[in-house]
């Protein structure tokens, strides 16, 4: 059974229809890459899945582990194991990074019927994950993303993901703005989370990320629909030929 089943999803932002009947299934253990030109609806898709307000679902359905995902508030989705790594992580001065990590983790653990971690066990866990992300401990006591560089913000997203251990990870252009070293670190972090009972959906512009995180499936999203799906060779073909041929092919069909 698929973990995530999106059926004919239609979404409007303001008076603009962004998704025009998008259908996608992701099974546990799989990594899917969603590629497509700017403005095709990639970010909208993952934000809607995470529960961002400001979008109107005008049709279709999303089922996650057999539940109606769209009926849940964002925090419930997070506690059920959905995680969005933001394209533009928000700076929140005055809220501690470490506080957010701890509050988030304990909310998730409580939901799963696990006891809250005490300060010592929590810090041990966080330190281990930070090492994995090559992050300095001084990040912990800074405001959430406050004054972080673009690359630091992305690493912080993956750190949060590593701590929260989601079931379904949505990565929104996590590779953008990263140099090659940072990309490798982020990719290692993501690959470390690959497991038979987890699924990862990554939105990206570039084939480059897929050299490091190898997808099982690649989809082309354009004008609010999945136009074509394939294996990782599709990404290579897109890299060579661009998106126009896919659009033409779809138009003919």
């Amino acid at each position: 059974m698929s973990m995530l089943k999106i059926d004919n999803l239609q979404v409007r932002a303001g008076d603009k229809q962004v998704l025009h009947g998008l259908t996608l299934e992701v099974a546990a253990g799989e990594v899917h890459a969603i590629m497509g030109p700017n403005g095709s609806g990639k970010s909208t898709l993952v934000q809607v899945l995470a529960g961002r307000e400001g979008y109107e679902v005008t049709g279709g359905s999303v089922s996650y582990q057999g539940r109606d995902l769209l009926a849940l508030p964002p925090e419930e989705r997070a506690r059920e194991g959905v995680f969005l790594a933001f394209q533009y992580p928000v700076e929140i001065p005055g809220v501690n990074n470490v506080y957010l990590l701890k509050a988030g983790l304990n909310a998730v653990r409580k939901h799963r019927g696990l006891p809250e971690l005490d300060a010592f066990d929590f810090l041990t866990l966080v330190r281990e994950k930070m090492k994995l992300m090559h992050m300095d401990e001084s990040f912990l006591n800074r405001g959430v993303n406050e004054g972080f560089s673009g690359g630091e913000k992305k690493r912080n997203e993956i750190l949060q993901m590593a701590v929260l251990e989601p079931t379904l990870a949505l990565l929104d252009e996590t590779d953008s703005g990263l140099d090659i070293d940072a990309l490798r670190i982020v990719a290692n972090g993501v690959n470390g989370l690959r497991r038979a009972d987890r699924a990862i959906v990554m939105v990206t512009h570039y084939q480059r990320l897929l050299d490091y995180i190898e997808p099982d499936r690649v989809h082309v999203l354009s004008s609010g629909r999945i136009l074509k799906s394939g294996d990782k060779s599709l990404a290579l073909e897109l890299e060579k030929r661009g998106y126009d041929w896919v659009k033409q092919e779809a138009a003919v069909a």
Binding site: E75, R77, F83, V90, I92, A103, G104
Partner: protein, 438 residues
């Protein structure tokens, strides 16, 4: 409408005159000073919204009520102690405006410091108090300051000798007794900081449970050359009370006055904080938080008067309004004609938690010199939807996420508090106020 207003004000003035005659006799050494102040108050009446300075704050509710001057109340030691900030410093407790030696740090004296309750001094040398009060009163007191002068009973005098440095704060508790109602208190605090002296003064206004009381407090601070005074004002009186506060600080050269003005309590509160920089190199820092909830109306009016060249000021006020609460910030900065090289910065940032709340913020810059740096910024907004979503997407429920963002908004004021005991106290108050689950 004008006829009604006139009648109301006449009757309220007369009520205060009657209270005056009942309270003071010719035997009081200050009676002439008091009588003159009363007459000025009666002639001026309560401020009205027609006065520019009172445009946003209506005192009609205060004016309509009758408050009797509070007499000394005997209370048990320990009765209100849980409301006080533990280990805040040398403690002086005024209960309903009257000094309570049994609750205060006993005879605590530090080198170079004279710390007295006004009543103590009265008992020793009433004539000296009279001339001291006269000398330390502003030339043109406002109507509400005159009301204080007419009725004040007690207060605190802190005098620092040349170079005296206090190693702990002076903690003044203005406590209303539980069950006090329809009472008025007019405490006076006078701080005279000698050359190069340093001190921290904390004024903490608390109490009155469900009672309706009226605090009309005056604090006059004189800073000699090189003196440094850090002044904290934490106001958390009952939600039915009225609170008018006046702080006047006068700075001579190279002195430094820092104010932390935290207004959380009272049904209606107004603080007039007025500073005058009269010596080169003087610096004023004003930090403030006004946080109305429910139907509270909380007003902070500040004036920074750069009277001479080469003075600086830095002002940072935050407002957080929820419920149908209303906040007012008015920041006046005056740069006098010859006050060249003035550097004045002002920031007023405000957060509205819901549609019924309101904050009026008004920077008021009067700049008469040309070689100065003056900046000001005022913003009013709501909680950042993107930040709220970010926190919720990490599993935090909406209420917790909102509370965290509210706390974050106040953070720069919280961290500006020096004494750790104070900072912890404010953190707890804000956590309770906005229900942060830690």
């Amino acid at each position: 409408m004008s006829v009604v207003t006139l009648q109301e004000s006449r009757s309220s003035s007369e009520r205060y005159r009657a209270a005056f005659d009942a309270r003071w006799t010719a035997a009081d050494p200050l009676v002439e000073l008091r009588r003159a102040a009363l007459e000025r108050f009666v002639a001026a009446g309560f401020p009205t919204q027609r006065q520019e300075d009172w445009k946003y704050t209506n005192l009609r509710r205060l004016e309509a009520r009758t408050f009797a001057p509070a007499t000394s109340a005997a209370i048990a030691v320990g009765a209100h102690e849980q409301q006080w900030i533990a280990k805040a410093g040398i403690r002086i407790v005024l209960v309903n405006g009257h000094w309570m030696p049994a609750l205060s740090s006993s005879d605590a004296q530090l080198p170079g410091m004279t710390l007295l309750a006004l009543r103590q001094w009265f008992e020793r040398d009433p004539a000296a108090v009279a001339s001291f009060i006269e000398a330390n009163t502003r030339e043109q007191p406002s109507a509400m300051e005159d009301l204080n002068l007419a009725f004040f009973e007690d207060g605190v005098v802190l005098d620092l000798a040349d170079g005296a440095t206090l190693d702990q704060p002076i903690y003044i508790v203005h406590q209303w007794t539980d069950g006090a109602a329809q009472l008025m208190s007019n405490p006076r605090v006078v701080v005279s900081a000698g050359p190069n002296s340093r001190c921290v003064v904390i004024e903490h206004f608390v109490g009155a449970g469900a009672g309706e009381c009226f605090t009309n407090a005056v604090c006059d601070i004189e800073l000699a050359p090189g003196a440094s005074v850090e002044h904290y004002r934490i106001q958390q009186e009952s939600l039915r009370s009225f609170h008018i506060g006046h702080v006047n600080a006068r700075l001579l050269q190279n002195s430094r006055y820092a104010s932390h003005d935290i207004t959380l309590g009272a049904s209606l509160a107004r603080v007039n904080l007025s500073t005058t920089l009269e010596g080169r190199g003087a610096h004023v820092a004003l930090n403030g938080l006004i946080a109305p909830l429910g139907t509270q109306h909380l007003d902070a009016h500040t004036t920074i008067d750069h009277a001479v060249p080469h003075t600086t000021s830095d002002e940072n006020y935050r407002g957080i309004a929820g419920g149908r609460g209303r906040g007012v910030f008015n920041g006046k900065v005056i740069v006098r004609p010859d006050a060249q090289q003035t550097d004045a910065r002002q920031s007023s940032r405000n957060l509205l938690l819901n549609a019924g709340a309101e904050i009026d913020t008004k920077p008021e810059l009067e700049i008469y010199a040309n070689d100065v740096k003056c900046s000001h910024g005022a913003t009013t907004g709501q909680l950042d939807a993107a930040a709220l979503f970010y926190l919720r997407s990490r599993g935090l429920d909406e209420a917790t996420a909102r509370a965290l963002l509210i706390r974050a908004f106040a953070e720069s004021i919280v961290t500006s508090l020096g004494p750790p005991a104070l900072r912890n106290h404010l953190e707890q108050l804000l956590d309770e106020r906005y229900k942060v689950i830690s």
